[in-house]
Assembly symmetry: C2
Homo-oligomer: 278 residues x 2
């Protein structure tokens, strides 16, 4: 694993104050971006989601300042991953956000030793850890990610690439670090995220690309039983694009036509990782 290099509020730094509210309460948001040929992929979409999160949380960080610090942090890097965390900053004890809080911007660059590798197909599992039903935070990529950590902790078998998480009602919401799409009865579907989960950037790219291809995506409840009937299943993630699911508990699937078509569309949009599946 390549260690990251961090910048805090624009300066190279590897430590932050122990009274940061990001640490104490998860009081902040983050984004993880793919850096390809010196450019951050889907940067505008990432910054828009970050800005929406800051707005929802009432954290007064200027999105333009965040963008500038991100740009400066990765200036000398061609390929890799850039993570940006924005917290409400330091504060006294207690949940009440201090009026005087100065947001803290932490940008970490993870260089990739070589160009991004092609995405591989996935075998996935069902996780028993439930994801929170949280109308207050649904869709946002906040620093409250403990359920995802616990779900990811359920397996160590390297043959399993991802795990699906359900909400308390038993509907599938997401993977631990990805969003789910299925084709069932010819209809392309993805879980509705109005009360749980993270609205992934690549999820949005796929929804837009599918619409352009005349395949509108239904955002809906998806029960685990659907996986037994689906013609196609794939997962999306900002770093890997589309990854077809070829292995489900008790079931093998081919890479389907809709998945291939969407991989082609994404490849044309700069998501070269999924070109192998066109």
């Amino acid at each position: 694993v390549t260690p990251g290099r961090s910048f805090i509020d624009g300066n190279a730094a590897s430590a932050l104050p122990a009274d940061d509210r990001g640490l104490l309460y998860g009081d902040g948001v983050f984004e993880t971006l793919a850096l390809r040929n010196g450019k951050l992929r889907f940067l505008d979409a990432h910054l828009a989601r970050l800005a929406a999160g800051l707005e929802r949380l009432g954290i007064a960080a200027d999105p333009a300042t965040v963008a500038e610090q991100v740009a400066r942090a990765h200036a000398s890097l061609l390929t890799g991953i850039v993570r940006v965390v924005v917290t409400r900053g330091s504060g006294p004890r207690g949940y009440a956000p201090p009026i005087s809080a100065v947001p803290r911007i932490i940008v970490t660059c993870f260089p990739a030793p070589e160009p991004a590798r092609p995405a591989t197909a996935l075998t996935i599992r069902m996780c028993s850890t439930r994801v929170a039903t949280s109308p207050s935070l649904a869709g946002l990529k906040t620093l409250n990610r403990l359920e995802h950590v616990l779900a990811r902790r359920e397996w160590t078998d390297p043959a399993i690439g991802e795990g699906l998480m359900c909400d308390a009602d038993g509907s599938i919401v997401c993977g631990t670090a990805s969003n789910l799409f299925v084709v069932c009865g010819g209809q392309l579907m993805t879980p509705d995220l109005s009360s749980a989960g993270v609205r992934g950037i690549m999820r949005g790219v796929v929804i837009d690309a599918a619409r352009e291809l005349g395949r509108p995506v239904a955002e809906t409840r998806i029960e685990p039983g659907v996986l037994g009937q689906a013609e196609e299943v794939f997962m999306t993630n900002a770093l890997t694009g589309i990854r077809p699911v070829v292995g489900l508990p008790g079931r093998h699937l081919p890479v389907g036509a809709v998945t291939r078509e969407l991989c082609g569309a994404l490849s044309a949009l700069g998501v070269g990782e999924c070109a192998a599946f066109c």
Copy 2:
């Protein structure tokens, strides 16, 4: 506000690595303890909840080590507040907990300039921020506390002392930093926390004390409408004990007999803050 003095892994320190998973994912738990006359109140109960959280999260911190670091940190202090945070420690990018992760223990002492003040009665409000329904984390005091922050951010009026939070279904779960009790039709009740909220230490003390007084507490669903009919309402918190609620939206309440009886019982258990209400 008195600034805190922090110890990280036993050493005086005010900064921690930016790759700490507590910051990045809220991957940890915490406790906030009242220090009175050099002793941490209900220390065993706090350590037990902390240990239960570490066990649930699979964080391999030794509770005995945590207890020892807490004791050393507050050794020179008589009165105040001690906060202990235990995170999974540093790690590479990604939700998967590294096998080699070394937990990080952060103890912060907040000295009080004078003995703890008596608790005052509360006027409370309803918050619109919903608390997550999370069977995976319910009851634990994890670092994922963003909903509590957003709920506490809903008001600045100093006359309002606390706000109640409901789950997505509209049942009351808790205050932003306290647990709720009501007496309704003679029955003492508190919200069931099996799928949301934090199982407060003072809540447990009150449940035990009430049982000893022959008043078993019903842990149940409590709809907001109950507040309009309740004979008594009070909130509990580790630092302030019992605080009677005398103001509700559109309603004033006296401090009732059950509340007074429980304040007396707690006062005898060392929670002197609520002696004023006996």
